[in-house]
Symmetry: C2
Subunit: 125 residues, 2 copies
């Protein structure tokens, strides 16, 4: 159980199609997760940062919703096209992607970055 | 988007019944999640700590697997009966439940506790 340096949860919750909130699954949650897993694999960092399915993160109207731990940075309206930036900036370099961040995240205390990923030599691409 | 003080992910991943690793769903992941949600609701802290379904956390043989963020404490073989202790000790008081912790969690740097939950007066039971 080595622990992960970062752990990214992608909501893939499904609601009935007539639900006014919509749902992350209907908005492409599974495709976002697949793109995330693929990108982490390509960079050879999928043992350092895990991508996970998550059930409802309670931000349905902002879907696809993604939360990155341990920082607990919340991202909304995430698309497949956003994944390279999210991985290269936040996961690898620790720089939050401000344009995708949900508003009002007081628990961050104004932080916009966190330590970069520590990539051991054997895990480099 | 107020953020959560703690965020508990319960694996409910399902594998075919003949998979030698087993799966958290087969081992009662959904019941563990239900018990967790119920306990958080009873204590009136479900806006402070969220319980979430998670896909495979890659610890199938240790299932039901639970991980608590932001500390990233990994628990294994969690049962419905363990939930009151997990919530009252870890979620509320910040004291890790050592008997349920997976071995070898070097990312914790030996920590066995974290700050307690801050419960605003209006959220008290």
């Amino acid at each position: 159980m080595p622990g992960f340096q970062r752990h990214v949860f992608v909501c893939i919750n499904e609601r009935p199609p007539d639900n006014p909130k919509g749902s992350c699954k209907a908005k492409g949650g599974e495709q976002v997760r697949d793109a995330l897993k693929k990108k982490l694999g390509e960079l050879g960092i999928n043992k350092l940062c895990r991508a996970n399915n998550a059930g409802c993160l309670d931000q349905c109207s902002e879907g696809v919703t993604v939360v990155v731990y341990p920082e607990q940075v919340w991202y909304g309206h995430v698309t497949v096209e956003d994944i390279p930036e999210l991985v290269e900036k936040h996961v690898v370099r620790g720089e939050f992607v401000e344009r995708l961040m949900l508003p009002d995240q007081p628990h961050l205390n104004g932080a916009r970055s966190a330590p970069p990923l520590v990539i051991p030599p054997k895990a480099e691409k």
